[in-house]
């Protein structure tokens, strides 16, 4: 295939837009798995929950799904606090977080899916937005608003999380939890409380990412499972616990998928993405920006 400049530029833009979306889906995992060591395999289920809340409000009242997700993110935050408290009391405090904790989150994943099936049925759901079918063109380069709007909000969210974690006392406490809980306790900070709030933040980001997902593609209750591998891959590729690493990892996978689809054949995209992950881990086991 002849590689034209327009095709190349569009592949780059498409990859970056896709990477922005992947970053939004993965930033929560970077906090919970990367920093708190909580293997929240149910993270995609909360993304789908966010999709359905955005859908129902959009369908009934016509509000923009992304605005809705930002407004209801405190509810996701509260949900995250409750969930972590249960996890802590039942598993982490007893030192049973590894396997039983994993089973707990698997259970949460299935319960969420079944609840969504019972409430909303099994059909695919989509939202209508004013920008959903609009494509902004700059010369030969396309910016589909369906991906560009989630990208912009995602960047704001991910950079906001990064600033929060590096520039505030609480954020530094979260980073400290990831490194040495005992030292944090000796300084008079309750690590459980810090982990509870940080986990809640990760679930809040999942709710917002859910709105992005339903803007980008139709959603059904079980679709979250398809993203479990992806979100953990982005987190590991970027470096455990590094938000900027997660952003970089998401862009790498987005660009890899876009370039492979454009120039070599889309069926190779997963192999190339996960090949990159393996190669990175072989040469840099801590991930792109991991310590």
């Amino acid at each position: 295939m002849e590689i034209s400049t327009a095709l190349l530029l569009n592949a780059i833009i498409a990859g970056l837009l896709l990477g922005g979306f992947y970053a939004a889906m993965s930033v929560g995992i970077s906090i919970s798995f990367g920093m708190l060591d909580v293997v929240n395999i149910a993270h995609p289920a909360f993304i789908i929950l966010g999709s359905y809340i955005a859908y129902i409000v959009n369908d009934r009242f016509g509000f923009d799904p992304i605005v809705v997700s930002v407004v209801v993110s405190p509810l996701f935050f509260l949900l995250g606090m409750v969930l972590y408290r249960i996890y802590y009391v039942c598993f982490e405090r007893r030192g049973q977080e590894s396997l039983r904790g994993l089973a707990f989150f698997f259970g949460i994943l299935f319960i969420t899916e079944v609840a969504l099936v019972l409430i909303f049925g099994v059909d695919y759901r989509m939202v209508s937005t004013r920008y959903g079918d609009v494509t902004w063109r700059a010369g030969a380069v396309d910016f589909p608003m369906r991906l560009a709007v989630p990208f912009l909000v995602s960047m704001t969210m991910v950079i906001g999380v990064q600033v929060f974690l590096t520039r505030t006392f609480f954020g530094r406490a979260v980073l400290a939890v990831a490194q040495d809980q005992l030292a944090l306790r000796l300084m008079g900070v309750d690590p459980v409380r810090v982990k509870e709030l940080a986990f809640a933040l990760s679930i809040a980001t999942a709710g917002v990412a859910g709105a992005f997902l339903i803007v980008i593609q139709p959603v059904q209750p079980a679709i979250g499972r398809e993203f479990i591998g992806l979100v953990f891959a982005v987190c590991v590729l970027g470096g455990m616990g590094s938000i900027l690493g997660t952003l970089l990892g998401a862009f790498v996978l987005g660009l890899a998928e876009s370039f492979t689809s454009t120039f070599f054949g889309p069926s190779w995209a997963p192999a190339v993405s996960f090949g990159l992950l393996l190669a990175t881990l072989a040469f840099r086991p801590s991930g792109l920006l991991g310590r």
Partner: protein, 420 residues
Amino acid sequence: MLGNGVVGISRRVLGALVIGFALSGTALAQQPLKIGFGMSLTGPLAGNGKAALISMQIWAEDVNAKGGLLGRKVELVYYDDQTNPATVPSLYSKLLDVDKVDLVVSGYGTAVIAPAMPLMMQRNMAFMGLFGLNVNSKFKYDRYFQIMPAGPDPAVDWTRGYFEAAMALNPKPGTVALVGADAEYPHLALEGARVHVKRLGLKVVYDKTYPPNTVDYSPIVRAIQATNPDLVYLASYPPDSAGMVRAANEVGLKTRMFGGGLVGPQFAALKTQLGPLLNGVINYEAYAPDINRKFPFLDQFLAKYQGRAVKEGVDPLGFYLPPYAYAMMQVLEQAIKATGGLDQAKLADYMHAYEFDTYVGKVRFARNGEWSVPRMLTVQYHGIGGNDLEQWTKPGHVTVLYPNEYKTGAVKAPYHENKK
């Protein structure tokens, strides 16, 4: 004395046995006639699977209201196959060995029918399939039957309408792009498309598949556009059908014909969600309101189905899969009544030999178990003005291009100039 005693005992034993047999016979008659199947009630095809299940439940209620089959009430025993082919073999083993069902039928779609076939062949079961494309081409099982009107050469007949419509264009097309999901149905549909491409001497400029969980389809559409094909044939499942149609609109795909084998737009959910984005797309449908007079049998089914579907939150139109799910059960019903039993060989022989009168019209099976004459419609969507469902129930938005006996118009090309 002894002799009389023995005779006396024998008479009592005989009497008890007769009563016992009579009672067991009554008990057998009261046992339900179990029909087992897996159905996609969760997963990507759950919306379609649930609509099919409702149809089959309506059939069971109708039959039971008339006294059942062979004097026994009909009971449907079903499990969720999660739209996952890996669950199918164990699920059917359970139906046959644990639930002891009398008959089995398939779940919805090629991907879940194929994995059930080896077990069906091993147990010599007559097996009705619900919308599987060309499943029997490799198995060549003489007790397999398919209710989808794809025709005796399914893969080739399935794609024939698209290419017949394409070759009616003036000037004739010269190049084609073939694209589909990495899944059972798209692969089989693309195989059929390649047969037509070769037959018609078209040049293939793009022939690739994509992973079903792709998020952004625009790089694929741009890669296709870079090859500048006259025709784009797409075989896809619902999520990627939506993704490809949206990407074609965003990229501004320029080609003369786009579509062909999209699963999804036959159902109300994608019809309403995609709305005007479907304008100009070529696809297949089992029914179009524009040719309602040629489908008089369908109204009886829709009267039973549509109200129930709205309550259950599944496809409220019921034009595509649901009537065929009901018809599949009607075929079994008529075969059981005619043969007077559940002998699998006799059922299969009868289904091969006779024609069936169903809610999807007269059904006769070819030697390979497919419909003896294809009837799937090739259509082009146009004039869709919004996202409401009502417009899809009225004539004027779906032009039938093929088969010729149902044809209501010619294809409007190019695709990108038919976006209204």
